[in-house]
Symmetry: C2
């Protein structure tokens, strides 16, 4: 625990004073990113309509994730930090707390509370660092032990703790209960802070944008390795292993934001394939359509990119029909995106382009207007066009601001604002039970050409997913490096 020792560790670990970095060509992330987040939060509350209700000596309180074990065993699954806490402090340590004092708009005082580690920690888990060490790393004003939090806050005459507690609009889960020994000695407000923190998380800062750019580009390059190495006859999970290897080995991404979806054959019509019950275990057939939805995470920020392509590198005419319909949707949306645009309108635009493609391909008959009116779109495109993206794959805040009531499974119904980061992921799938439902419904059945449809029953599906930043005048597609057109994909996969 000598200074020399800490200095030594500083030089060769993922955290050093003010930085997160995994060495070599990986991104060096300045941890002032999180101090800026704390500042944004204090400013947003202290300049809000609620500002006059904020009492002196009050704090926003964050709670880190708890260390856990699997079932009754002593197996500790790889810890992943709670994302609100991470957003504010950038620390991956379990069992911490953090407070941001509402004492200044520009430079609120921040304190990180760390667990007091037993001596045997040094034998089993690693060097025990000093409070001073963590203060230097995370650029906070104070570091204290978590078991002294109550005394510390009382000493500061803490009046109110604003806890970060609220409802997640994707999962409909509430945040975990926030508590600590002695919390009953303070006034606790569980409602005020959450929407301010969530709203801050919606808008990415330049420093956050650089991390996201790195995660997305690392993800794209790892996808491209899969496209180079895939061959019919391989198992789907072998492609997952190739992605995971490159994301970690080449770019330092130990985690993915979500379980890899590596669907070939008809499996590409299962939207969230790849989970433990459908573990990417099929053999990739020659002629199969592949749908690979995989996103690597760096310093907590995740990408979410989907590439669809034929397993053998050459599109059939039928595959071109579906693929180009989805590509048209993707390109049309990205071209139209800019501040002020309604996300609901973008979803409708995508749906229209997909339906137009299916009409042109002869799978559907009738007019586009009739198809829309009779909700044929959601038979083929049953999920929303996209979602906010950041520390969570389905990032928070989709139903704040100017959000309209939920439609079409959309994860946000807001209009676009500069510095939102959002996925654009139109898709077209041949899902048996949705097709059967539609064919059994006379108002819908009349739009299907059953003979042509029969050809596509085992097609699977296509999804094209990009990660897009809303800019002042339009948008920037961070995942544009992956081959996207039929010609680009065929040329790239030839090698």
């Amino acid at each position: 625990m000598s200074d020399g020792c800490c200095e030594e560790t500083h030089k060769d670990s993922h955290y050093s004073p003010g930085y997160y970095w995994l060495g070599n060509d990986t991104l060096k992330v300045p941890l002032v990113l999180h101090r800026e987040n704390r500042q944004r939060l204090a400013k947003s509350i202290l300049t809000s309509k609620d500002k006059d209700s904020i009492e002196p000596n009050s704090f926003v309180l964050f709670q880190a994730g708890k260390s856990t074990t699997a079932y009754d065993t002593d197996h500790e699954p790889l810890f992943r930090q709670e994302k609100f806490f991470f957003w504010a402090f950038g620390s991956d340590m379990p069992d911490c707390y953090g407070v941001v004092a509402l004492d200044s708009q520009e430079n609120p005082t921040s304190t990180l509370f760390i667990p007091r580690l037993p001596a045997e920690y040094a034998t089993w888990l690693g060097q025990i660092h000093s409070k001073e060490y963590y203060k230097k790393i995370f650029l906070v004003d104070n570091v204290e032990f978590a078991d002294e939090m109550t005394a510390y806050l009382k000493n500061l005459n803490c009046s109110t703790l604003y806890t970060v507690a609220g409802l997640n609009t994707d999962s409909h889960n509430h945040t975990e209960p926030l508590t600590f020994k002695g919390i009953e000695e303070f006034k606790v407000n569980t409602t005020l802070a959450f929407p301010y923190v969530a709203e801050c998380r919606v808008f990415k800062t330049p420093k956050e944008i650089e991390v996201l750019r790195y995660s997305v580009e690392s993800t794209c390059k790892s996808h491209m390795q899969v496209m180079r190495k895939i061959r019919p006859g391989m198992k789907e999970y072998q492609c997952e292993s190739i992605f995971l290897y490159h994301a970690y080995h080449d770019f330092g991404c130990r985690n993915v934001g979500y379980t890899c979806i590596c669907a070939a054959n008809k499996n590409s019509s299962v939207l969230h394939y790849g989970h433990a019950g459908e573990p990417n275990a099929s053999t990739i057939r020659d002629g199969a359509m592949c749908l690979y939805d995989m996103g690597a995470e760096y310093h907590g920020y995740t990408a979410d990119v989907t590439c669809s392509f034929p397993a053998n590198g050459k599109f059939t005419e039928d595959q071109k029909i579906v693929y180009n319909a989805v590509l048209d949707a993707s390109q049309s949306v990205i071209k139209a995106m800019k501040p002020g645009v309604e996300w609901i309108d973008m979803h409708k635009l995508a749906e229209n382009r997909i339906l137009s493609g299916l009409l042109a391909g002869g799978i559907l008959v009738g007019s586009l207007e009739e198809l829309v009116e009779n909700k044929i779109g959601s038979v083929f495109f049953p999920h929303g066009l996209g979602h906010l993206l950041g520390l969570d794959t389905h990032d928070v805040g989709g139903y704040q601001g100017d959000a309209k009531p939920k439609v079409n499974s959309l994860r946000t119904t807001r209009s676009l604002i500069e510095n939102m980061f959002i996925t654009v992921e139109p898709g077209c799938y041949f899902i048996d039970h949705l097709l059967d439902q539609a064919l059994a419904d006379p108002s819908k059945a009349r739009f299907f050409n059953r003979d042509v449809l029969a050809r596509f029953r085992n097609f699977g599906g296509v999804r094209i997913e990009d990660d897009v930043l809303v800019t002042a005048t339009g948008c920037e597609n961070f995942s544009k490096m992956v081959p996207r057109t039929v010609e680009e994909i065929e040329a790239y996969m030839k090698h």
Copy 2:
């Protein structure tokens, strides 16, 4: 949900009627393995001292793991099954229950209760299969919906449910509370079954042994890839990525039994390095001692193998001193292991060999007897010699049977019995705070040659871990294919 469709799925998925298989050269596991486990359990209870207390129409009740999300989000971490349930039923499906009727020693009736899935499951997560499908796969007598479990059991005049509930002696955690809607309508016995199930899990059947052999050999081959590809200047986590890639790509092991420990430099003296707080993030130095403790899991059964070697492929004389002391311990123990041998004696034997090596190397002075008497062994070798291994890395049952009171951090104190599967993992580490403690204690300090010790302060540590089956007359080392002697390692790493 037509039969044809199920048949199609059967042919190309991880589960088919009676088998788990990931294709290509991966192991095809007969699921009768789990029926045998259910039979073993019924027989062990029905022939035990408790047999007369077992009421007619009673059942042993198992509870699968629950599907979960991370914090408040809709992110579902990759599901991993609860291991008692898996042992009995071999299913990786969350939210299930299973009962084994105590109606026959040879062929107890078994019923699997599966969740009733909503129609949209087919869109998002995959095909919804029939009860008949699961019955064929898992070789159970009945499959019912979990929401009908109470009615089903009442209809069978169920008298008592013996739940699998107990204390894990490694984690000191209790099993998760077992409950379901309607459980209050039955007599529940929470104490009888657990020790019987745990004791069955201690002894591996021929079919379980084949799975473990596959997991261990897959693990060894993946370790050897790391030994071939490691170079000074690489990051530790790049070696982790190489191991994970081969374990998954080549052998179908999606999970590891525990987080990979990829320690180079002084980090190799941190016993459980590699967790999120110490994420294998150092640069591997030329001359560093590496300690790689990694184990791949196949069909729930995990390996646990450690290889230690110099990063540059060539041992220094100091590295040879420590490595050969540990190798001597390992070889001496494996030579001595056979039924009837006390595990405590094996630990002492390992400690003696390590201390002898350190005496010969001049790090310690005095006689072996004095060193043992003054507990110098645990300064360098602070963990137990090994642990039962199977579905859990630290498998259950270490403190049942003829176990003696706990000594020296040992995870079991039983004598060896045929078909136990156990790790042999002697280690020698230079851990600053343990060395400092010892040097500050006059009864210990006199045995250290401080000048020589100073040379080893930044050495790190060595662990050699094998996975060993106790046989009728001795033992079989399943991990013997990895290079182990100094000569073998240097020759293998030259290429």
